[in-house]
Every structure is written in C-alpha cells, then in structure tokens.
C-alpha cells in the first residue's frame, strides 16, 4: 500500500477508488514499459499496451508470450520489475493489492473456471456483487429488492436462470465459464479481463460466449485473451499480438493477419 493512494485519500477525503478514476482522455488502462522476470526468464519485456474506454480488445500470441502474466500484473497478482500500470490517469495499480484493484473496477475471469463450487449459482453472483465489502458490513448485509433484480438480470444475460439454486460445482464446464462472466458483471467493473473464455467449449457454447462478450462492448472495456483464432475472428475489432513478452503488432484482424512478422511467429505455424 503506497503513497499514491494515501496522498489521494488526503486530497479527496471520503472518495472511493472508483470515484477517483479519471478517464478524461478516454483511455482506461495504461501499461507502459512493464518488465517481469522469473528466474532470469523475461515473461514480459518492456511491454506497452493501452485500452480505450468501452473497447473490446483481443490479445493473442503463442504460448509463453506473456498474456497471462500481463493480466497478473494488471490485477496485482504479480509485481513487475519495472514499468508503470495506471487505471485511468490517477490510479496507480502497482500500489494496490488484489481486492483494492477489484474495488477500483477491474474484474478478472481466470483461464481455469474458478467459481465457488459449494455455493449456489445465486450465491456466487451475490458474493461477486459490487458494494462495500468490509467485514462488518458484510456480516450485516441483506439483499435489497433492487439487488435481487440485478442478480436476476445477470442470470438472464448468462442464461443460467434455471440453474439458480444449483451448486456451482454441479454445472457443466461451459456453464461455469458463463457463471464466471456473470460474476464479473455483478462486480460491474469498467474493465473486464477475460482469460481464454472458450477453452474446452462446444461450438454452440462458443457462439453464445461470443454474443455475450459482444453485448458487453461499449458499457465495459473488455480484454479477451484467447487461443482459438476462429473465435477471435468472430469478435475482434482490434487485436494485439504478443510475442516474447512485448507487443509485436496491433490493428484490425486483417491488418494483423497480413503482417509478415505475425505470420512468421504465429499465424504461419
């Protein structure tokens, strides 16, 4: 917990992180010159990457290109050796821990679906719901009608209304993935980081997921990391290609596909 937040707390007493967010330049996420090394191996190498407000961005790249590490840095799981990482112009993500980054408005879906298996679908969504998550308030918390409506709305979006009372552990793989996206929506984040949403999905499930992600564009910025090129092609407007820990190319799917460097390292395989 560093000086930035405290300094800012002092200037804006009583404001939450979400209220401090300054996005007047229409850029939501700034990742600049980030380097991460694990035992000498550079997982990220001077990576710079920007995400605009409301945009849907796909990130592709071969295995070991640093896609997941990049998400780890943004969500506070991994600390970079150097570089900057800002949410809006004011919030320095490198000074916050995971819960505070989540509260600031960044939600993350993991590669392996991790839902709370013992809890029902409803309870999973309830736990993820945006709100004050301090201990005492959580102990006394009760669902308002409005919040119930919101949960019901999300259940509709992810198509799990009929599963509402089932334990999340009993859902199919695809349903768990959607539940996780639903949990992200309950957090109501400005930025959603979605790691491999269609891994292990059937074709129909994939189509549904594509619809789901496209419907989020505009209201939320979405960063999708995905291996499946057909899927990326079906949703992407802008694509970023990572290679050996830095950005190799960026642009529309067509531009990227025709970039000879990209063809060489990735698409040409």
């Amino acid at each position: 917990m560093g000086g930035q937040v405290e300094r800012w707390q002092y200037l804006n007493p009583g404001k939450t992180l979400a209220e401090t967010l300054d996005i007047s330049h229409k850029t939501l996420l700034y990742v600049e010159g980030v380097t991460v090394s694990f035992d000498g191996f550079r997982a990220l190498n001077d990576l710079s990457f920007y995400v605009d407000l409301g945009e849907l961005r796909c990130v592709i790249g071969p295995n070991g290109a640093g896609k997941t590490t990049m998400m780890d840095v943004i969500t506070g799981k991994t600390r970079p050796d150097s570089g900057y990482c800002f949410f809006g112009q004011q919030i320095n993500l490198l000074e916050l821990d995971e819960p505070r980054i989540a509260q600031a408005g960044i939600g993350r879906k993991f590669q392996k679906p991790t839902v709370f298996e013992q809890h029902s679908v409803f309870e999973n969504l309830e736990l993820a719901m945006a709100g004050d998550k301090r201990v005492w308030l959580t102990l006394l918390a009760r669902l308002s009608g409005e919040q119930r409506d919101r949960i019901d709305e999300v259940l509709g979006i992810i198509g799990l209304r009929e599963q509402v009372g089932r334990p999340a552990g009993a859902l199919s793989h695809g349903q768990k993935q959607w539940l996780e996206i639903g949990m992200l929506l309950m957090q109501d984040p400005l930025l959603l980081l979605v790691d491999e949403p269609v891994a292990g999905m059937t074709h129909q499930e994939m189509e549904r997921t594509a619809e789901l992600l496209l419907s989020l564009e505009g209201k939320h910025s979405v960063v999708v990391v995905e291996h499946d090129m057909d899927f990326v092609r079906s949703i992407a407007k802008r694509v970023t290609v990572l290679h050996q820990g830095s950005v190799l190319a960026e642009g529309s799917m067509d531009e990227v596909q025709n970039d000879p460097r990209v063809v060489e390292v990735y698409l040409g395989e």
Binding site: K77, A102, F110, T114, H119, E126, T138
Partner: protein
Amino acid sequence: MGLVRALRGDTGGQVMLAVLLVVAVVVPMLNLGVPESSPWHVSTYTVTLLGKYLTYALLAVAVDLVWGYLGILSLGHGAFFALGGYAMGMYMMRQIGDRGVYGDPVLPDFMVFLNWKELPWFWQGFDLFWFAALMAILVPGVLAFVFGYLAFRSRVTGVYLSIITQALTFALMLAFFRNEMGFGGNNGLTDFKDLLGFDLQAQSTRAGLFVASALALALGYLACRYIVTSRLGRVAVAIRDAESRTRFIGYRVDRVKVAIFTFSAMLAGVAGALYVPQVGIINPGEFSPLNSIELVIWVAVGGRATLYGAVVGALLVNYGKSSFTGIFPEAWLFALGGLFVLVTLFLPRGIAGLLAWRRAV
C-alpha cells in the same frame, strides 16, 4: 430476525439446542431436588463432569467455525481456552484472600512462597469479577488478533499456519511453566474457594456453573450460526474453497480471516473461563499442543462445518475418554489416534455426515 435465519434449515442444531435446554433444566433439578437415595438422583460429580463437557463443546464450536467454515486448521485453540481459564483462575486466586496457607491478605500463596513482596502489575484488577471476565475474552481476542494479523497478512495458510499455531501454544506452555512469569509456574492456580461469593464446593454452585455452561454453549452456537448464515459466512466458505478468487472479487481476505479467527478465540476464552471453576485448577498443561490436536479430533469426529457436529463430537469423544481412561488409561492416546484415522477414512463428514446421509436415504 437474525435468530430465525440462524436456525432455519439447521435440523441438527435445533435438536441439539432443544436437548441442551431440557438437560440444563432437568439435570440441576435431579441433582438439587431429588434426594440422594433416589435412583433418579444425579450426583454432583456427574453435574460437574457434564458442565466440563459443555465447555469443551463450546471450544469445539469455536474451532469448527474457523476450521469448517474458513478452512483455517488451528492447532492452537487450546491456548485461547487456557488463557480464558487463567483469567478466571486469577480472579478466584484473589478471592481466596487471607484464607490461603500463608494467610497473606493480597498475595496468592505461590507468590508468598517465591518471596514476592507485592502483586505484579498484571494481577491488578483481577479482584473484580467483571474485569476478570472481560480479560477472559479480551486477552485471547487480542492475542488472536495480533497473531492473525501477522499471519494472514503475510498469506500464511494451510499446514504452515497449523504448525505456527502449534508453536504458539507450545511457546505459551513453556512460558507459563516458568515461576518468574507469575502465574504459579508448574502448579498453576488452584485451591479456589469461591466465585462471586458462592462456595465452589457447594452443590448449588456446581449446578449454577453447569447451567451457565449450557447457556454459554447455546449463545455461542447461535452467534456462530448467525455468522455462518450471513453473507460474511458465505464469504468465509468462498475463502475456504477458492481463496485467491475471493480476493479478485474484492474481499479483503486477511481481514475476514482475522475477524472470524479473533471471534473464535474469544469464544474459546469464554469456554476456558467456565471450565476452570468446575475442574478447580488451571496449569500450563492446558497449553499442551496435544490438547489442541485432541480438540480438532472432536470436531472431525462430530463432522466438520456443521457446528452441531462439533458439539456432538466433543461430548462423545470426552465421554469415551472418561470411560476408557477408567479401564485402560495408557491406551487412550492410541484409541484417539485410531479413532481419527477411522473417521478420516470412513466417515469424512463425521457423525453429522452420517446422520444427514441416513436422513437422505
């Protein structure tokens, strides 16, 4: 409102509380109201034994709250129990006054024996019941808070945390064994005379302590149920099952853990404070790491993450211990170890799991 929610759907808990209520009324009646010659008479020895079991049950509920619902396997809860016990023991030592062997009006016997001239600062205030009662809760609470703050903030989990809790209770045991600590060293605190002016040897005082233990167990149980049925309880289970996921949806996992761990330690302190006047002694042996492991076995036998299972487990295992050690004292630890292995292999959800399964069939 909270009470209704706490017990809704908790058949095991409802039955347990109903039985507890009946026992809390009937046992003292059979002890005080029925003449000794009658076959219905319950001896004072039995009343005290049952009262002791009830304090164990409360301790087991406290352990189940953190182990069953939060996934923290504390192998040091005996320390919080013992600290609560020492606080109450200190009050009762001060109550002895000049009736001790050396007749010193202020200093307890062991201090006179050590040639101490005045009461150490940390014994001040323990002549007041309310202060001692407060300390019986606060001292375990503060220790758990500091310990939990350091451990959970550094994200120490799993077996490492369990080992540190063992070390905690072991360190306290060694410290309390020392005479210079000022808690009676090896012998601990004993020879209590009275509590709040009631003679501890009196039948009615014993019955009163029994009822107080039953009441504490009932209230502690309800408080724990209130927590586990709240959203905080669901967050706790979420932490148990997928800790880092919980962090990524915005919960301060370390704070949730510290809060529930501290509450649990306070409950253990209450149990200890009720235990000591009934057994009449508290010594450093209560800090023994073995005690803390034993009480985890009570919870495992009863059924983890059910709360009422912890009560059932504590009562059954201790009843078994009392019977078994009467017949075959050396073999008890082997029996306990065997029981743990059997339960882990064949009854992973304990007796409560067996009951739930029977109901489902």
